[in-house]
Amino acid sequence: MHLAHRAHAPMSRRTFLGASAAVAAAAGVGIGAAPARAQSGLGHPANPAPSPIAATVPSGVTEPAFLENIHWLLPGPIGATTPFIGLPGFGLDVDPSTMGDYRGFTAYAVVSGEAEGSDGNTYDVEFDVRVMRGTYETATGARFDSTFAFL
């Protein structure tokens, strides 16, 4: 059974479910002891309620035009560019999180390589991936713990 998040307040069904998740983790069946294959929790019948939407980071790129209003930044050394899209690194004092009002542990990378398709073709791959685990505050001021990823 997977319960993805834990509310801080107020007491609610969600809070109760979150507490159950903590108990499960303590018992070694939740976060602390991963199953062999962690399925995506979205849409799973064991995920009884959706998590509240996290805020975006308030910043975002404005150029080029096709990226306007995208709440996303690209940490990376100045002068470096991603290998296939060619996006420039914005520098290292740049927020890698796509979530705002967030406190947690973030792992970020732009990875690249090759893929073999079922159509027999070889493809170049570029994958911007960020995992954000921690606490986030929603627009209502409620705080939740969960794991999100930019994919």
Binding site: A21, S59, A80, I85, L92, G100, R133, E137, F148
Partner: protein
């Protein structure tokens, strides 16, 4: 998760763009994962993401009009390659500044594989690495947590 036709320059010709979509408040390509899919160890110097069947939409190109149901399996590992250092400018800059956060990040190397599928097409990558650009990992905070 972007796939390109090889040898088509930079930017390369994109043929697949699998992403979680944009939520109504603008949260961009960001989706919730099971907590058990992400592990941090070694005092924050190692991390791994192992997740299967993440539902995505393949828009084929960035912000494409089509949205084909697809899913990916991701297996990635991060290893710190340098000591942590303070990054971000916190409250010393406006909230919409790129540096409006604080973090203790270590440069890292990320590597692993991804498999993806949709009706009529699937792919499996060789080893993907961050060697051609950048990776980092560490604790951070932004917004109301500054």
């Amino acid at each position: 998760m972007d796939l390109f036709t090889p040898g088509t320059g930079v930017p390369a010709e994109q043929v697949h763009d699998m992403n979680p979509g944009v939520l109504l408040n603008g949260l961009f390509w960001t989706t919730e994962l099971p907590g058990s899919s992400f592990r941090v160890s070694g005092g924050g110097t190692r991390a791994s993401l192992e997740v299967y069947g993440v539902p995505l939409a393949n828009t084929l190109v960035f912000a494409g009009d089509r949205a084909i149901a697809s899913s990916v399996d991701i297996s990635l590992d991060w290893r710190a390659t340098a000591p942590r250092e303070l990054r971000g400018l916190g409250n010393s800059v406006p909230p919409d500044d790129f540096g409006a956060f604080l973090g203790l990040f270590a440069d890292a190397r990320c590597s692993g594989t991804v498999q993806g599928r949709q009706t009529g097409f699937s792919f499996v990558t060789g080893e993907l690495t961050s060697d051609t650009f950048f990776a980092e990992m560490g604790p951070q905070r932004n917004g109301v947590f500054l």
